[in-house]
C-alpha cells in the first residue's frame, strides 16, 4: 500500500479491531482484526483528508471523522458502504 502518513486511529467494531489512517495521497486505508489481521484496503469512495481518521461506533455503525482539505471537519457514516465525506464546517488545527 505504500507509505502511511499521520497517526493511527483505532476502534472496536463487531469484535473486529479496525485501524484507519490517511495514507498515500491522503486516502483513507483500513484493516481489521478477527483472529488475524487483514491487509490494508483503500477506501476509494472516500475523498482525501488532511488528518488521521477517528472512528466511533454509533447506532451499530461505524462513523468516521477527519480534517478535510480546507481545514473543516468531515464525517462519513457507514450505511451499506462508506458514504462520501459530509462537511461539519469549522476550521480546526
Amino acid at each position: 500500500m505504500g507509505n502511511l502518513t499521520g497517526a493511527l486511529g483505532i476502534m472496536q467494531w463487531e469484535r473486529q479491531l479496525r485501524g484507519l489512517r490517511p495514507g498515500h495521497r491522503s486516502k483513507v486505508w483500513f484493516k481489521w482484526y478477527r483472529s488475524v489481521w487483514s491487509n490494508w484496503i483503500q477506501q476509494s469512495t472516500l475523498g482525501t483528508v488532511n488528518s488521521s481518521v477517528a472512528a466511533t461506533l454509533y447506532g451499530g455503525n461505524t462513523n468516521l471523522f477527519a480534517r478535510g482539505p480546507s481545514g473543516n471537519v468531515v464525517w462519513s457514516p457507514y450505511a451499506a458502504g462508506w458514504q462520501p465525506w459530509t462537511s461539519l464546517g469549522g476550521v480546526i488545527l
Binding site: T5, P22, H24, S26, K27, V49, S51, G71, L93
Partner: protein, 400 residues
C-alpha cells in the same frame, strides 16, 4: 543540458550578487547569539503529498519537485511550522519569495513561488497555505520547483540571509530527519507528514460527540442526536497543546460519562500536563479541566476495558495513565502541577470531578476564524533516502 547548466551558472552568479544584500545593508551586526531549539519542521507541503528533494550544487538548500513531477506547478506550499512572515516580495532573480521567522533565530525561505498568499507580518500556523509552487524569477530556469532554505540567525541581527553560499542557511530538517548534508544528494520519495489534527470522538447510546481544537487552540464540540447542529460549541477557552481525545463509558460506580483529554499549554520550561474534562449528562455540560499529569508530545488516545479508562500517548515522563473513577484517590504517580492557560488563568484542579461542578462556557460559534491550520501528529514517518552521485556542476538542472 549543457546549455541549461551554463544558463543556470550565469543566473546563479547573478542571483548570488542580487541576493547577497538581502541582509539589510548597514544592519547592526551584534555578537552571535545561540539559536533557540529548532522547531519541529515538517515538509512544506500538505499532508500525504510526495516530493523529490535535491541538493544539487547548493547544499544545504534544496530544490523540491512533486511526484509525479508534472504535478509540481501550482502545488500548495504549506508552512512547515508556526511563525511570522518576515519577507514576502518579488525578487528580480528569485521571483516570488517568502521568508518565515519561526522564532528562536530560525527562518525558512521559499523561492520561485507562483503566487504568495501571505504578506510580511502575518502570523502563520503549521500547515497553513502560504502560496503555490511556480517558476518565477530567471534563476528558476523556467522549471517549476520550490527552492527551500532553512537558516539560522547566526550573527544575532534578527534576520537570516539566504540565497548564496556563505549565507546563514543550514541543513534542513523535516520530521526529525536531516537533509542536504552535501551537494549532489537526492531523496526520491519524501512524504509530507504536515497533517491536520484528528478529531476526538465518543458515542453513547443516544449521542455521538465530536471534539476538536479550533484555530484559537480552544476546545469545541458538536453533538449528533439524529442531526448535526449548525454551529460548533466552544466548550472551554483554555489554550490546549494537543488535539483532544474522548471516551464515553460507564465507570465503576455505574455513572455514564463522557471524558475529554488533551495536553495543556506548556509552562515556562516547556512542560505540559494532560488535562481531563468530564460530563455526566451525555455531553451537555462539562467539568472544568482537571490536571492528571503526564508530559505528552502527541494527542492522547483513550479506550475503555471493564470499567477502567486507559489513556495512551507518546510522552517524555508518562505514557499510560489509568483514570480512576470518581471518589477514588488520584494515583500517586500523577502530577498535580498546573499548566499555564493564557487568557483564562489556571484551570481548576480536582481529583474527583462531580456533576454539580460544571463548566459554564457554552458559547456557540464556528471554531476559529482564521485560515486553516494544521498540527503534526508525529515525527519520523515514511522517508526513503537515497543519496545520489555528487554532481560536478555547481548548480541543479532546476535552477537555484
Amino acid at each position: 543540458m549543457t546549455r541549461t547548466r551554463r544558463r543556470w551558472r550565469s543566473a546563479a552568479l547573478v542571483a548570488a550578487i542580487g541576493l547577497g544584500f538581502l541582509v539589510a545593508p548597514g544592519a547592526v551586526q551584534s555578537a552571535s547569539a545561540a539559536p533557540g531549539p529548532r522547531p519541529s519542521f515538517h515538509l512544506p507541503f500538505p499532508c500525504g503529498d510526495q516530493w523529490r528533494l535535491d541538493s544539487w550544487g547548493h547544499a544545504p538548500a534544496l530544490d523540491m519537485v512533486r511526484v509525479p513531477r508534472s504535478a509540481t506547478e501550482g502545488s500548495v506550499i504549506a508552512a512547515p511550522a508556526d511563525g511570522v512572515v518576515n519577507q514576502s516580495f518579488y525578487h528580480s532573480q528569485a521571483g516570488n519569495v517568502i521568508q518565515i521567522n519561526h522564532g528562536g533565530g530560525w527562518f525558512t525561505t521559499y523561492r520561485h513561488m507562483q503566487v504568495r498568499y501571505a504578506t510580511a507580518g502575518h502570523q502563520v500556523f503549521q500547515g497553513q497555505t502560504i502560496g503555490r509552487v511556480g517558476h518565477t524569477g530567471p534563476t528558476s530556469n523556467g522549471t517549476p520547483h520550490l527552492h527551500f532554505e532553512l537558516a539560522v540567525d547566526a550573527n544575532g541581527d534578527g534576520q537570516a540571509s539566504w540565497g548564496f553560499a556563505g549565507s546563514e542557511r543550514v541543513r534542513p530538517w523535516f520530521n526529525g530527519v536531516e537533509y542536504a548534508q552535501s551537494n549532489g544528494q537526492t531523496w526520491l520519495h519524501v512524504y509530507s507528514n504536515n497533517c491536520g489534527e484528528m478529531p476526538g470522538v465518543a458515542s453513547t447510546s443516544s449521542r455521538m460527540h465530536v471534539f476538536v481544537r479550533g484555530t484559537d487552540r480552544a476546545l469545541y464540540k458538536k453533538t449528533y442526536a439524529g442531526s448535526w447542529p449548525v454551529s460548533w460549541t466552544r466548550v472551554d477557552g483554555s489554550v490546549l497543546n494537543s488535539a483532544p481525545a474522548a471516551a464515553a463509558w460507564r465507570d465503576a460506580n455505574g455513572a455514564q460519562r463522557v471524558d475529554v483529554f488533551a495536553s495543556g499549554a506548556p509552562d515556562a520550561n516547556g512542560i505540559t500536563q494532560v488535562l481531563q474534562k468530564t460530563s455526566y449528562d451525555d455531553g451537555n455540560t462539562f467539568s472544568g479541566w482537571q490536571v492528571i499529569g503526564g508530559n505528552l508530545t502527541t494527542q492522547p488516545a483513550a479506550t475503555v476495558l471493564n470499567g477502567t479508562l486507559y489513556l495512551f500517548g507518546r510522552g517524555t515522563t508518562e505514557t499510560s495513565t489509568a483514570v480512576p473513577p470518581p471518589g477514588t484517590t488520584t494515583p500517586a504517580s500523577v502530577s498535580t502541577a498546573t499548566p499555564g492557560t493564557p487568557g483564562s488563568g489556571a484551570p481548576p484542579t480536582r481529583s474527583t470531578p462531580h456533576p454539580a461542578r460544571r463548566a459554564s462556557a457554552t458559547t456557540r460559534h464556528r471554531p476559529g476564524t482564521s485560515v486553516p491550520t494544521c498540527t503534526p501528529t508525529g515525527s519520523g514517518g515514511a522517508v526513503r533516502r537515497r543519496p545520489g552521485p555528487v554532481r560536478r556542476s555547481p548548480a541543479g538542472a532546476w535552477g537555484t
